[in-house]
Structures are given as structure tokens and as C-alpha cells.
């Protein structure tokens, strides 16, 4: 990839609007380049595995803790409202729907946005400002393939796996709370929790988490890869990566839910 050349500043509409559309154009080009490079050999399998380890294994403890607490606290908060209608037996179904359909993919991807997105933005940004990316380029190594493609694959593969894991841990948090108060058994809890969840809903959760994982990887890499202005730029890249990823995750969440919900209703 050529080093970005500086052109004279001439605004078509205004500086802000021009920058927005230029940004959209640049990131679209970046995404297209990913799809162009991702399926052409040579493949960097060892680096993908290394990045999967970074993304997956190193996020496990944080996701375990957050998912467990979320499951437990959500159940606790929901209990009084259901108790008013004498419907506490619906708690497993309610928490099942909430955790599997909404909380697990969102919590997992937001944690990964903070932990992984910022890490990728800062790491690649620091490599950019210290000429390490140019050093790869002049060594006849494709830095996009080695740095970007591997990281985006890793986040796209690992976030869905982490989402499944986080749903399981969240449900266990919920089960412990319900079991402590209602003496519900695990088999009954699992049965009730998945009673209202169909394959389309599970698919929706997985599709969203794949998309969230891709978003985390591609935005982190884009912000890192296009870092300028030295160490200050590295900080900005890490910060902006998280902000943009979170914003996009909520937009994607809303869009997919609006697209999939009519399917469940049929």
C-alpha cells in the first residue's frame, strides 16, 4: 500500500462533510482490499492462530466475569416485576431470551471493542508511526495481508465463539440466582430458557456476532493502519477505534433486529 500522499486542501462542501465522505470512501476501499487479499494465497495461518489466541483466550477472564455478573444481576432485577404478576416461573425464559438474543452478543462485542479494538488500533498505529509497516513493505512482505487480514479473521472467528461462551456463562449466573431462590433444577432451567428461542433467533445471534467481530477487526486495523501525527496519533487511533466500533455495533444491532424480527413473527 502506498504511503498516503498529501494533496492541497480544497473543500467541495465543507471541511467536516468532505472529511466524512472521504473517510467513508477510504474505509470502503479498505474493506474491499480485505476481501481481495483474504482469499488469495499465501495464507498466514500461524499468525491467524496467534491472533485468535490474543483475541480469544486473553479476553476469556473479563468476559467470564462480566457475563456471569450480568446474568445474575439481570435475573435479580427482573424478579420483582414478574413476581407482581405471579409469573416468576417465567424467569428462565425471560433471561434465556434476553441473554441469548441480546445481552451475550452485545456485551461480548462491546468488551472486545474496548479490549481488542483499542489494542489493534494502538498496536498497528504504533507500528505505523515507527515505520514498522513500511519496513515490512520494503522487505517485500505484504503488510496488509500479514497485519490486517490475520487480525480481521481472528476477530471474525473468535467473537462468535466468545459470544456462545458468554451466553453459557450468563445463563449459569442466572441459573444460580434462580436456583438459590426457587430451587429450580438445571434441566428444567435449560428447557425453559430455550423454550422460546428458535433456530432463526440463534442464527441471528451468530450472524450478528460474526458481523460485530468483523467490525471490531476492520475498524481497529483501519484506524491503526492510517495513523498519523506520531504518538498522539496512536492514542487517537486507539480511542477512535473504540468509539467507532461501538457506534457501528449499535447500528448493526438495530438493523439486523429490525430485519430478523419479522421472520420470528411468521
Amino acid at each position: 500500500m502506498d504511503t498516503i500522499s498529501h494533496q492541497p486542501e480544497k473543500h467541495v462542501i465543507s471541511k467536516g462533510i468532505d472529511q466524512f465522505f472521504t473517510g467513508v470512501y477510504d474505509i470502503s476501499k479498505f474493506v474491499l482490499q480485505f476481501f481481495k487479499e483474504a482469499f488469495i494465497p499465501p495464507y498466514e495461518f500461524p499468525e491467524v492462530i496467534k491472533q485468535c489466541y490474543q483475541v480469544g483466550y486473553k479476553s476469556l477472564s473479563l468476559i467470564t466475569l462480566t457475563a456471569f455478573i450480568t446474568g445474575m444481576v439481570f435475573t435479580d432485577h427482573s424478579r420483582p416485576a414478574l413476581a407482581d404478576f405471579g409469573a416468576t416461573s417465567w424467569l428462565p425464559s425471560l433471561t434465556g431470551i434476553a441473554i441469548v438474543k441480546a445481552l451475550a452478543p452485545l456485551i461480548t462485542s462491546l468488551i472486545c471493542a474496548g479490549k481488542i479494538g483499542s489494542h489493534i488500533g494502538a498496536e498497528l498505529g504504533s507500528m505505523k508511526v515507527t515505520d514498522q509497516i513500511d519496513a515490512m513493505e520494503v522487505s517485500a512482505v505484504n503488510p496488509f495481508k500479514f497485519l490486517v487480514v490475520t487480525r480481521v479473521w481472528a476477530t471474525t472467528l473468535m467473537v462468535p465463539l466468545l459470544t456462545i461462551y458468554s451466553a453459557f456463562v450468563g445463563l449459569m449466573g442466572s441459573f444460580i440466582d434462580i436456583h438459590a431462590k426457587d430451587q429450580t433444577g438445571l434441566t428444567l432451567f435449560i428447557h425453559d430458557a430455550f423454550f422460546k428461542i428458535g433456530y432463526a433467533e440463534l442464527a441471528s445471534t451468530l450472524i450478528r456476532s460474526v458481523l460485530f467481530g468483523f467490525t471490531i477487526g476492520i475498524v481497529g486495523c483501519y484506524k491503526g493502519f492510517t495513523t498519523t501525527q506520531g504518538t498522539e496519533g496512536v492514542g487517537k487511533a486507539a480511542n477512535l477505534s473504540v468509539v467507532i466500533i461501538m457506534f457501528l455495533i449499535f447500528i448493526e444491532e438495530m438493523t439486523i433486529v429490525k430485519l430478523f424480527n419479522p421472520l420470528y413473527m411468521q
Partner: protein, 257 residues
């Protein structure tokens, strides 16, 4: 001081630049420069900070695009070459960055192996180990293989960066401020190493610097870049034997008279 070879015009030209222009916004840094590097020659490009010296070698290696001009390296037009041709050309070129640019998440050995593994897939592990040992020996740092770049001094990092360029056995080496930020003694050692590399690996080099000691010690030919143009060239003494105040001023401020 090395002997001047500037008049040996019959030697093969490995880098040829004609009418090179490059601007950044309204700032025109290179204004139609011509440049040639001959096989086996060390050419030093001298100039003030911001004079476009680093831009020149980044254009040579294809990291930046010129606004205008023809750049041929080993007979290939760099900016019209296909990706594959450019990749093959880069295998014949080494580039030493001002900040060394070692991969900080990798050990010294992994840094050295990195270009070799990715560009020469058929090379066996014993051959890689031997190549690493050879280049570490060439730069005099055989005991640093398992260290991280952050554990090395600035001078050691420069040496490892030179070793990383040498492992691919380049025909041309481009040095961007090889002595910047180093103490005089370490700079002296790096200058020696540049000459040693030229002798041992038969490389042709472009050395970008504003350090006159480095220029005097490593340059077969010195070219002075001022206001986007080469204003003087020749051996070190020839370049500074002038009444041009801009050139004399550069010399005076380096305190080596």
C-alpha cells in the same frame, strides 16, 4: 576518506532518476532532480532536515509516488512496475529506517527470520539459522538473538536493522540517517559498518544524512541537496570547496573544520 569514484562513468548504473518532482500541499520539496547510482558505489545525499532527502529514497523504493519524473532501479521503472515486479525488485534492495523500525513484538532472531521465511519459502530451518548467524556476525552482535529490540541500545538496534536488510543479500542498500540520534563513538562504528557492508556484500548504497562525519567517512560521492535541487556533487572536499554560502554554512555549522 575513501577515494572518489565519481568519474568512472563506464560503471553500470543501478539507480537512475530523471526530472523528479515531489510536493506536499504547496511545499515543493524536490524540483526536477537527476540522480545516478553506480554499481558498488556509496553515494551520500547531504541536506538540511526537511530538504526532501528521505522523500527521495522513499520514492526510490516505491513507498511514495513522485509527482513527475522517471525512476529506474536495476532497469525497472519503479512506479510503472506491476506488483509482482516491484516485490521482486524489493528483494534486491535493503532499506535502513531512521528509527531502525525493528518489529518490537519479535525477538532479534524473529526480526531477522521474518523477511527470509516469507520470501524464500523453500529455505530449511538449518539454512535460516545459518543466515541469521552470518548476519549477526557481520554486524558484531551474535549474542543478541533472543533479545527483544527494546532491550537493545540505539546503536545495537541500528546494527540489527542493518543485519535485517543484509539477510536478503541485497544489491542496493538505502540508509536513512544511519547515525541520527547516536553518540559520536557509536556513529563512528556505524560508519565503519556501512563501509564493511559495501566491501563484504558488494552493495551499492545511497546514504541520506546531515552528519558530515558520516558523509566524509562513507561516501565515494557526495551530493548536496538544497532547495529541492542538487547544487554540488563530487568527493567530500570538492563539494565544500565553494563560495556558495548555503554550502559553506552547512559545513560551518557541523563544527568539523
Amino acid at each position: 576518506m575513501k577515494h572518489s569514484q565519481s568519474h568512472k562513468t563506464q560503471r553500470e548504473v543501478v539507480i537512475s532518476i530523471k526530472g523528479l518532482y515531489k510536493s506536499f500541499e504547496d511545499n515543493e520539496v524536490l524540483k526536477g532532480i537527476d540522480f545516478q547510482l553506480h554499481k558498488g558505489e556509496n553515494v551520500v545525499v547531504l541536506g538540511r532536515s526537511g530538504s526532501g532527502k528521505s522523500v527521495l529514497i522513499k520514492i526510490i523504493v516505491g513507498l511514495m509516488r513522485p509527482d513527475r519524473g522517471e525512476i529506474e532501479v536495476l532497469g525497472l521503472n519503479v512506479h510503472e512496475a506491476a506488483k509482482k515486479e516491484l516485490r521482486e525488485l524489493r528483494l534486491k534492495m535493503g532499506f535502513l529506517f531512521q528509527q531502525s523500525a525493528l518489529y518490537d513484538s519479535m525477538t532479534v532472531k524473529e526480526n531477522l527470520e521474518f523477511p527470509l521465511r516469507r520470501n524464500k519459502g523453500h529455505v530449511s530451518q538449518p539454512e535460516i539459522d545459518e543466515a541469521v548467524r552470518e548476519v549477526l556476525d557481520a554486524v558484531g552482535l551474535t549474542d543478541t538473538a533472543d533479545q527483544l529490540p527494546s532491550e537493545l541500545s540505539g546503536g545495537q538496534q541500528k546494527r540489527i536493522a542493518i543485519a535485517r536488510t543484509l539477510i536478503m543479500k541485497p544489491e542496493i542498500v538505502l540508509y536513512d540517517e544511519p547515525t541520527a540520534g547516536l553518540d559520536p563513538l557509536t556513529s563512528y562504528e556505524i560508519n565503519d559498518l556501512i563501509n564493511e557492508v559495501q566491501k563484504r556484500y558488494k552493495t551499492s548504497s545511497v546514504i541520506i544524512t546531515h552528519d558530515l562525519v558520516c558523509a566524509k567517512k562513507t561516501g565515494d560521492r557526495v551530493m548536496m541537496l538544497i532547495d529541492g535541487k542538487f547544487v554540488r556533487q563530487g568527493d567530500f572536499e570538492e563539494v565544500f570547496d565553494t563560495d556558495d554560502e548555503r554550502v559553506k554554512g552547512f559545513y560551518d555549522y557541523n563544527f568539523i573544520q
